[in-house]
């Protein structure tokens, strides 16, 4: 079981009663329909802690990550990260936060080198230093350096996701938001990424918020886990605590018992 050094008591993320609604007009002149993606979510993540958020598609995971990464503005509640308040301090916060999304989005005609240097420049990093750091990270993730100048479109999904992680880590952020970083990866790439994250946490003490469908991954990486369903955090605790509370031997059954929902097939099958 993963344990966190209890001397680290500072909070890296404090989310309180977070709400988000999406409004959509029904047709051209129809009434505006409201859909609540988050209905008052509260949780905290300690510095150096890895917090796993588990939930099926549509549970609000990606909306939550998008709010924390300053892409969306909440309709209610408060978010405080690394001592900064959202949305007031969003520009300062962006400089201290890395994010990996599920889709490893890149400019596919450009090489990993060009993509990473572009990201580095947006964060105001010196190109040579950024390139050196990117190379180190990619080597740690098992990417051959000779592929560093090939167009990304010629690379596998696993490789692209590794480059995506390298991009998030270029600025050496104290806080990392990972939105299903291993979804769709082959087993080896998945293991590579998980091992890298463990190593990163041990080395740098990086705080990680991880959303995933993969129970085994959540158990392996997360100190604490939150179950998200229909925009609400229905249960929270260590993997052992959640299993005990549900009275089930594994985390997936605990999830079903506590949320009344099943996780999507894709991740579980791998």
């Amino acid at each position: 079981m993963l344990t966190l050094n209890t001397t680290q008591t500072q909070l890296a993320i404090e989310v309180s009663n977070l709400k988000k609604v999406f409004r959509k007009r029904d047709g051209l002149r129809g009434p505006i329909k409201e859909e609540w993606a988050l209905k008052g979510v509260s949780f905290y993540v300690q510095e150096g802690e890895t917090y796993g958020l588990l939930g099926p598609n549509g549970s609000g995971k990606s909306t939550l990550i998008r709010i924390l990464s300053t892409l969306l503005t909440a309709d209610g509640g408060t978010v405080r990260m690394l001592g900064y308040q959202l949305p007031e301090d969003e520009t300062r916060l962006r400089r201290k936060m890395g994010r990996v999304s599920v889709d490893a989005a890149f400019y596919k005609k450009l090489s990993p080198r060009e993509n990473l240097l572009y990201a580095a420049q947006l964060y105001g990093l010196e190109p040579r230093q950024a390139e050196k750091r990117a190379m180190q990270i990619l080597e740690q993730l098992g990417l051959e350096s000779r592929r560093f100048s090939d167009p990304i479109e010629e690379m596998s999904r696993g490789m692209q996701q590794k480059i995506s992680i390298a991009r998030a880590l270029l600025i050496n952020p104290p806080l990392l938001l990972l939105d299903e970083p291993t979804t769709g990866l082959d087993p080896k790439s998945r293991r590579d990424v998980q091992a890298f994250l463990e190593d990163l946490r041990a080395r740098e003490g990086t705080t990680i918020l991880l959303t995933t469908h993969d129970m085994a991954e959540a158990e392996r990486l997360a100190h604490r886990i939150g179950f998200l369903a229909h925009g609400r955090l229905v249960a929270e605790g260590t993997a052992e605590e959640l299993k005990r509370r549900a009275g089930t031997p594994d985390l997936e059954e605990a999830f079903i018992a506590l949320t009344g929902e099943e996780l999507d097939e894709e991740a579980d099958s791998l």
């Binding site: 989005a105 947006l122 105001g124």
Partner: protein, 392 residues
């Protein structure tokens, strides 16, 4: 500003790497000069061939004297019972019959058969020469000269400027080429930089970077303006170089063209001041077009949706074309110069014709800048609204 330049650089790099986009820009560069010059060149070639070829004329009832004149004009004279049939059956290039004081020329004149057109023209010239000869003989028998039949001369002079005259068809094409190519050249980059980022989901990484949205927009806009101007002016350079190349290397074919067609072909006769004025007008137009494309590109969810918005706008550009098709009947008013798009076409047209007034040009510049700023404001608003950027 440094960030904006870096963003613009990345957008242009992506643009250069995309073969499809590059093709869209380079195609007009090659094709437009080719389209502009090749028909004239082929026509000149046919005329030259026809000039050098000994052509056969089938005649009936033609006097001996005229036959000698035809032979001197390099015709092979063949007597025929039915010159019309001889031409139809391709035994002769042209036919001529004299009966009851009338000369009839038989010709299968069509665009596809330029040789016979040349033969007919030469026959007409010979007949005219013969007519004048006969007339002169008759006048002289009465103690008169040919000049006595012409108490005064009639001359029609076109009032268009020398520059417009020298430019020929180019004078008409340049305004549309500039406007059309600014739009088409900028479109691919604008869509790639906006809705392309949405489709590839790269917009999330971009917007979560510590760069102000206006800098992102400025960088993207800069790339679109550069691509649009490159497309337009590379094609202009293509026009100019193509024209110079053809005139230098195919002078005999061009000389063989009839004068009116040669005038239409035109020559590159713009001064550096004209070019600078056109360039400045194009920069403002590229700014306006870029703002429109960014605003629509940010609003659209997919490439298809963005194209659905842009296609009708491009259709609107046909209005100036229609207007210019009837330009002899349309009096250009001052307010034309203040209309978005139309104003730029009219302004460049007046620059090319050398007939612009500073007031009209100023009106186009000021209005285009104002429209550009207005639309840019909407683009910025769209870019800052999560319900637009993330709408699905």
């Amino acid at each position: 500003m440094k960030e904006a330049l870096k963003i613009a650089r990345k957008e242009l790099l992506t643009y250069v790497r995309e073969e499809r986009i590059l093709l869209m820009v380079l195609m007009p560069l090659v094709i437009l000069p080719l389209l502009m010059n090749l028909p004239f060149l082929l026509l000149g070639h046919y005329y030259q061939q026809a000039e050098n070829k000994q052509q056969v004329i089938a005649i009936k009832g033609v006097p001996q004297e005229l036959q000698h004149l035809l032979q001197r004009a390099k015709f092979v004279v063949q007597h025929s019972q039915n010159p019309r049939q001889a031409v139809q059956e391709r035994q002769a290039d042209v036919g001529m019959v004299y009966a009851e004081g009338r000369y009839t020329i038989f010709d299968r004149n069509s665009i596809l058969n330029q040789q016979r057109s040349v033969a007919t023209e030469r026959t007409r010239e010979v007949l005219q020469q013969y007519k004048e000869q006969v007339l002169l003989e008759r006048l002289q028998s009465h103690g008169l000269e040919l000049a006595d039949l012409e108490p005064f001369a009639i001359e029609i002079q076109k009032t268009i400027s020398e520059q417009q005259q020298a430019l020929g068809l180019l004078a008409m094409l340049i305004p549309f080429a500039v406007v059309g190519l600014v739009i088409s050249g900028g479109q691919a980059v604008a869509l790639e930089a906006t809705v392309g980022e949405k489709e590839k989901a790269t917009i999330e990484a971009l917007l979560s970077a510590p760069v102000a949205p206006w800098k992102l927009l400025l960088g993207k806009g800069l790339a679109v303006v550069v691509a649009a101007l490159f497309s337009a002016f590379a094609s202009m350079a293509g026009f100019a170089l193509g024209n110079v190349f053809v005139r230098h290397n195919f002078s005999t074919q061009i000389e063989a063209l009839p004068t009116d067609i040669r005038v239409q072909m035109g020559a590159w006769a713009l001064t550096s001041t004209d070019l600078a004025t056109i360039f400045f007008t194009s920069v403002l137009f590229a700014f306006f077009v870029t703002s429109v494309m960014l605003a629509l590109g940010i609003f659209a969810r997919t490439y298809r949706e963005a194209n659905t918005y842009l296609s009708p706008l491009e259709m609107l550009m046909l209005i100036p074309f229609l207007l210019f098709a009837f330009s002899d009947y349309v009096q250009v008013q001052d307010w034309f110069f203040a209309m978005p798009g139309l104003g730029v076409v009219v302004a460049i047209d007046t620059i090319v014709k050398g007939s612009y007034s500073p007031w009209q040009l100023g009106l186009t510049w000021a209005s285009t800048l104002a429209y550009g700023l207005l639309v840019l404001f909407f683009a910025f608003r769209n870019f800052s609204r999560e319900d637009v950027v993330f709408r699905n």
